[in-house]
Amino acid sequence: MATRSFNVWRGDSSGGDYVEYTTDITEGMVVLDAVHQIQAESANDLAVRWNCKAGKCGSCSAEVNGMPRLMCMTRMADLPEGQPVNIKPMKAFPVMRDLVTDVSWNYRVKEKIAPFAPREPDVDDGTWRFPQEDGDRVQEFRKCIECYLCQDVCHVLREHNKHDEFVGPRFLVYLAALEMQPLDTGDRLLEIKDDYGIGYCNITKCCTNVCPEGITITDNAIIPLKERVVDRYYDPVQKIWRALTGKS
């Protein structure tokens, strides 16, 4: 057992600062365990959001030593010894209190996106048939646990606060999952171009790097969507075709 020290950001929307705590660390502990221990021992009112403690719900997102991480999946043993562990709330969203941020913007963004709209069933009994291979790439996107770490790390949101013009990597993944769903008949490309701001993404792949589910956000979701937008709206041959036929 070893005692480790932590600098935990405490405060609310009006401001705050780091507070130092120490607690004992046993084998296998993750950062969230340490935060809970501090909460039970010396700071009963330390605000932290969590649920499953198994990397499945995406609630305990924070910045640990400057990196957007799930606290429940960050093992103490993997953090450098001999220096305090620094924990602060996600920067891309307004602070509610301590480590908890107001992520309601994400819920509002999702509501704006046109929902899944399936084609007519393939069989009279109301069911569909499609091969596993057609579902594979969408299943990758549907692993998303909505931890919003990709949103937090994205400089368009984090540094430039373009929340009104850009939906962020999470929702580009969501859009890709809809657009590539084998049964979906919706078409969201115009919105992806004009309203959801896909052009803001300059494929630095920061989002892919922080995704705790290992979703290849940039390569598998964002770039294919960019290609679809380019093919339809910026390809000169297509442009002439549209001018001549009036069809999109």
Binding site: A54, Q132, R142
Partner: protein, 607 residues
Amino acid sequence: MTASTNSSDFQTFDYDVLIIGAGGAGLRAAIEAAGDLRVGLVCKSLLGKAHTVMAEGGVAASLANVDERDSWQTHFADTMRGGQYLSQPLMPEFHAKEAPKRVLELEQWGALFDRTKDGKILQRNFGGHKYPRLAHVGDRTGLEMIRTLQDHGIHQGIDVHMECTVTKLLTDDGRVVGAFGYERELGRFKVFNAKAVVLCTGGIGRAFKITSNSWEYTGDGHSLAYHAGAELMDMEFVQFHPTGMVWPPSVRGILVTEGVRGEGGILKNTDDKRFMFDDIPDLYVNQTADNPEEGWRYTQGDRDARRPPELLTRDHVARCIVREIREGRGSEHGGVYLDIAWIKEKMPNAEAHIKKKLPSMYHQFKELAGIDITKEPMEVGPTTHYAMGGVRVDPATQMSGVPGLFAAGECAAGLHGANRLGGNSLSDLLVFGKRAGEYAAKFAAENEDTKADPAQIEAAAAEALAPFERATANPYDIQFELQDLMQDKVGIVRVESEMEEAVTAVRDLKERASVVGVSGNRQYNPGWHTALDLDNLMTVSEAVAMAALERKESRGAHFRDDYPDKEEEYSKFNSVLYKGEDGQMELRREPVPALSEEQSAIIEENR
């Protein structure tokens, strides 16, 4: 912020139907009730984070996509057998009949299940299910389900109250008329006037120390209903999932899906012996493989093979594991070994296969325990997982004894009897979530508007704020003490004397819980939230201990060292708990409803 109880602090909302809890059951109920009605949905956490997200293995429905011999009748018989014939028979019948429709509906709303070779929804084997029956998405089926319901639900005109906890139901003349709660962000109070209320609050796992459940599972719905005058049933039956992680200590209790065994994983003790072959219960002898080769063939889809003993019901597997550990044949850290890596003897590309079929298990062990499950065995042991007991409801409408108060999902009783089969929980949420939403909407349409009594609201507010006026016991200390107590004395192996101690100790802790204090203010204060959850935990703990004490036999998830066998006398009733005239918890025996002729015939055919 001052601890004012001024009623101007309340935000008031008027609904036809209020749903408390936004996991699978709550979301499904809300979708069903929405449309012309005003529907409010309260979630204790953020939307989409409820415990359903943790479900791994799959959703049980007799689609018969993989084995055309499957039918609702077999699913019904399997569920009854799994529940040791203490289920309310109509519920397994509705469940088995309606689950396929509910699963197909999810596909219509965007769920993307794994596929069979001919492009249908794929189904996998699971404990206690005769045929491959679980529709699934790798080992993250719960995530797929809750996300599908969430993404569909947000377009149905449902009012969602996130991070909001209900602390009291409001009643008028014996009928429920609304609820009182607080939102976490600023600690403000919310008053909900509602013609019908549906409880979908999940389980009680936080009453135990080792659990796969998150902080939310404090028996809120059970306790809210009990205090509003509803009855609880089958509370002695707490499912200890046989395979939770045991090492390192901080991850103890985190679930390891039954899907590992469904894919061919085997259980071994420290002598490298596959101990599950040693004890196969009479009810299952005909359906269980008697050699490893047959068991393996079953997991690989051989229709003529019988299931390996690792896929016996959860209660039995958990007990066998406890036996191995108690008799000194456990693993290094007090569990047993669960080995999926061995399948490399049987198939090429075993490593890739395991990663494809069990991705989150691979991830979980790699990240949290530093174990590569494609190469070495996992250490596992029982973890508190699920409450079969809950609010006693009408099987068809899901209405409790309190008019206007409904319950569905884990917080309702009646489907699973003495033991739940894996995969039957996700289908339970869908089938009975839908029913509860439907009948709550009907109740609301047929009844007049209601208005809560201001005195009840003031009293609820005063009670919620009381911990700020005190600064005595630490709420976390009381919670930990209760968890230790329930784990040690009312856990997986029970005896009379220990449970008697537990009942007394819980009542004592209840006294102490009523004087806990909290520091800080009302703004997102987990200490305060923990203090307010304590009363619910005490209520359900007392109910579990009392019902367990009453049942002097071993059946399903309830195992007694002093009465290790099943007893005929106890096969005939369910234990019902209710608040007596003097405010004390009382218990009565309620006869198990008789089977219909058709039901009896189905059970006979499937013996």
